[in-house]
């Protein structure tokens, strides 16, 4: 692996009461890679995502993004650094329309609404709003969302809601995109389509850290696979090697 990694998680520990969710977890994510994080339910994958995106503060260890330590920053500050995420249980804003949900993702990259824009907005002359709307539409296009952009997200299928959420994260122009089980609830053809979208996103120079249970998808897509079990990393490396690691087979994969 060349140069400094984009994301460097070192010795992260996290407990909930007496339960050890993450135990001395270290991993690095290379720039412009697709890095998969797999493991059985309860292994700590989502907890690690929450730590990386700042929703949880790690009890020990360090977090570095582009070689700068960022532990202790708020989630909104971490988004500005360039780390965006979706949620395993879709968390779109119900009262906002589909396109508005994605526009919220652009907010951190937009200037404030000027008084001029505020006054002229009703006449279609709000420059900031137009930038956000165009960018949001482009992101929805990128994730191949074909539905009504003015509808409420609840009217959409779960698969479309996942696409909208990925578009919302992309709208913030992240260097690193965290995807937590994006293929959950998708049929094989939808999962294939998602794989190609993820590759397209990587092709735009972004890095993807992916939690996914669809092992077929993981092993065909990922450059690097890290396996978490009971809060510890038990294997990490290229898919072909991890796939045949005895510890991984026992903990998780069974007979793949």
């Amino acid at each position: 692996m060349m140069g400094t990694p984009l994301l460097d998680v070192a010795g992260v520990g996290m407990t909930f009461g007496g339960y050890v969710a993450l135990d001395d977890v270290s991993c690095t994510v290379a720039e412009n890679s697709i890095h998969a994080l797999i493991g059985p339910n309860g292994a700590g994958k989502t907890t690690l995502f929450n730590v990386i995106s700042g929703l949880l503060k790690p009890e020990s260890g360090s977090l570095r993004f582009q070689a700068r330590s960022y532990a202790g920053l708020r989630p909104d500050q971490i988004l500005v650094l360039g780390i965006a995420r979706n949620f395993q249980q879709v968390r779109l804003f119900p009262v906002l329309s589909v396109i508005e949900n994605v526009m919220v993702g652009c907010h951190s990259r937009l200037p404030r609404t000027s008084l001029r824009d505020f006054v002229l907005g009703p006449f279609g002359r709000d420059a900031v709003d137009r930038i956000a709307r165009e960018r949001a539409a482009a992101m929805l296009e990128l994730v191949e969302y074909r539905g009504d952009v003015e509808a409420r997200p609840a009217q959409m299928t779960l698969v479309d809601q996942r696409r909208i959420e990925i578009a919302r994260a992309l709208a913030s122009d992240p260097r690193l995109l965290l995807l937590d089980e994006p293929a959950a609830g998708m049929n094989p053809s939808e999962a294939n389509q998602l794989s190609s979208i993820i590759q397209k996103i990587r092709g735009l120079g972004r890095t993807i850290l992916l939690v996914e249970h669809n092992t077929r998808m993981v092993f065909s897509l990922a450059d690097e696979v890290t396996v978490l079990s009971a809060g510890r990393i038990i294997a990490s490396g290229p898919p072909a090697i991890v796939k045949n690691d005895p510890a991984v087979v026992i903990a998780y994969l069974g007979n793949v």
Binding site: V95, L96, M103, V104, H107, S108, F118, G121
Partner: protein
């Protein structure tokens, strides 16, 4: 055009609409306040003291609104970190603190109140301010700030993960609501011509809250409808005499059963 009865009804209706807006703006960020009477009092006393010393009415009103906003932000900075019912209790406590503070301020008349305020509030003033505030709130919905406020209301965690500054957004919403209550107070003082702390106590705050619950908090029309129902309906129900308030109770319970989102439901802006 109007006789004095309809004019006074219209003025108080307008002031009540502003109080409804003052609850609506913070509530659209998920901040429920039962202390808006306190901010109204700050605006009322500030504006009344200023016009008494010769300051132009418009400046006095603006100063009342600004001071209410400033105190709103100071109160909210620690308070918005708490949520739900605890915030409601905190704002309720704040409203009472302000009332008791004015009871003990002798230079504004203490408990016996402040009289001799100039009659500067006219119907055009009230209507003009109502329209401007309504337009701002309506326009806000489709700005980045408006979307951020709604996102915070819907899901704080997701909003923060999408880069929205929670504290800043909540303070703007709460401070804005306090400013509107301050404006309403200034208008009220120069129409009632006599103010005392009791006028801005818990019943005032609770009534403002009622406008929004009844009308709905999905868009600015809801609070207007809520204020209209609570302000104007009793005038048409005078024939019910002592049963007027009972009728209200029934109306509110009916609303909670059949229209829990308020009389006017929330819709995305493109479908308004």
């Amino acid at each position: 055009m109007f006789n004095s009865y309809t004019e006074s009804l219209a003025v108080f209706f307008g002031i009540n609409i502003l109080m409804a807006f003052s609850v609506y703006l913070p509530s659209s960020a998920g901040l429920i306040s039962l202390g808006q009477g306190g901010f109204m009092a700050i605006g009322a006393y500030t504006a009344a003291l200023l016009t008494a010393s010769g300051v132009p009415f418009a400046v006095a009103l603006a100063a009342g609104g600004c001071l209410a906003a400033l105190i709103g932000v100071l109160v909210a900075a620690p308070a918005v970190r708490i949520r739900g019912i605890y915030l409601i209790i905190a704002t309720l406590g704040f409203g009472e603190i302000i009332r008791i503070m004015f009871v003990n301020l002798d230079f504004v008349g203490g408990a016996s109140g402040m009289s001799g305020i100039q009659p500067l509030t006219t119907l055009p003033w009230v209507a003009g301010i109502c329209v401007v505030v309504a337009l701002i709130l309506w326009r806000l919905r489709t700005t980045t700030l408006g979307r951020a406020i709604l996102a915070v209301h819907e899901d704080e965690t997701a909003a923060e993960a999408m880069g929205i500054k929670l504290l800043q957004t909540k303070l703007i919403a709460f401070g804005g609501g306090a400013a509107i209550a301050g404006l309403a107070g200034g208008l009220f003082a120069h129409y009632a011509l006599f103010i005392d702390p009791g006028q801005f106590g818990f019943p005032r705050s609770a009534e403002a809250f009622l406008y929004v619950v009844l009308g709905g908090s999905g868009n600015p029309l809801g609070p207007v409808i809520g204020a209209a129902v609570v302000t104007l309906l009793p005038e048409f129900l005078r024939f019910l005499q002592d049963w007027r308030m009972s009728f209200f109770a029934v109306l509110l319970i009916g609303c909670a059963i059949w229209r829990p989102g308020g009389l006017i439901a929330a819709r995305p802006p493109s479908r308004l």
